[in-house]
Symmetry: C2
Subunit: 218 residues, 2 copies
């Protein structure tokens, strides 16, 4: 499915990100006891257009009923399956500074099926300490532990200066998906997907918007 080797249609990153939005909206609609939802209403809730919603969903199949809309619970499950969140992912947090330890406590991850199973740091004072029921492991043991605990994704929250060094180890341990919070460009092989999250960049964008009286599209 999607654009695997054999796939035809190209799914854009924007579509995938909107799938996450739909998923969250549908979870809410479910709680509000909606049974079906029209693209018009779903679009309104996420500040999109109805055509956009229908087009996004149509890439993955025909989930709706003409004249009625989409079945809330079923569509939610379908999207979960598409996003690959119809399961538990085992995550390791690497680095327990400010950001790392905040994310370990961040309940939304757990709620969406992202289960932090291991925590690493290289600071001797932190190793062995308890964070939300998890003991901080020595980063030296990372390669072995990542494999032993069947970790599939790594969140990197280490200082920029050591990030490349550490990510090399993460890659060597066979991890294919990494979310990086260090504000630096890291090198990974082609078959590893690295996503960078830079919170200063978000504030810089706000700064641009108000400095230039800029009207963003959405």
């Amino acid at each position: 499915m999607a654009n695997k080797d054999t796939g035809k249609k190209k799914i854009s990153e924007s579509t995938i990100r909107r799938l996450s939005l739909y998923y969250r909206a549908l979870s809410l609609l479910e709680k509000e006891n909606y049974e079906t939802i029209a693209s018009k209403e779903l679009a309104k809730r996420e500040k999109l257009t109805p055509a956009q919603v229908r087009k996004d969903l149509s890439f993955f199949g025909s989930f709706g009923t003409r004249g009625l809309g989409y079945p809330v619970t079923e569509l939610k499950h379908r999207i979960a399956k598409i996003l690959g969140i119809d399961r538990i992912w085992n995550i390791a947090m690497v680095g327990v500074g400010n950001i790392g330890s905040a994310l370990v406590s961040y309940k939304e991850f757990q709620r969406q099926g992202f289960s932090i199973k291991l925590i690493f740091d290289n600071d001797q004072r932190k190793i062995g300490s308890n964070h939300k029921g998890l003991i901080v492991s020595d980063i030296k043991d990372m390669p072995r532990l990542l494999r032993e605990h069947n970790i599939q994704m790594v969140v990197l929250a280490v200082p920029a200066i050591v990030a490349q060094y550490i990510i090399d180890d993460v890659v060597a341990a066979g991890i294919k998906a990494i979310l990086n919070f260090a504000p630096i460009n890291l090198q990974v092989p082609d078959d590893v997907y690295l996503r960078n999250e830079n919170m200063s960049m978000e504030l810089e964008y706000l700064s641009f918007v108000i400095s230039n009286h800029y009207k963003p599209k959405n």
Copy 2:
């Protein structure tokens, strides 16, 4: 400049985000004692194309020298000016849970000129406590304090359930730029710019990528 009332060219959000990347790359190049940099090299460092770099910069002026490239320090300052980060922004953090308190300690904000001046919470146990030299204020005093301290941006890190209620107060205090970490769609007037940051969404994107063997463009 940019797309003010009279402006002609439309600057895309992607261009602005890349400006942040260029800024960071240029800061590094400066430290490496580069005096000039060609679009080719800058592009390579940020995994973009040279044409993209030149096009982005050309929206704001002619900063380069044919045959030579761009002057590193000057371009850095020009971009800082465009982004509005050639100054200090006064920020208030609203909510000192996991995320909020991590961000208060996040040195990168300070480094980029985003200075957290006030911290708010509604939890009586937190009010009065010290976070990195700042005393947590009662959220009841927020409207007054935001104005008194000339706060220009607010970072919202409160539970989703109270987020709309609190953002209404932030808006009423005249704040025009808000970075929201609560995973919920908030309503603000047209002249307020609200940016949502949802970290679960980033992991969901990773999940999609590895579940579908999806090859993102970049």
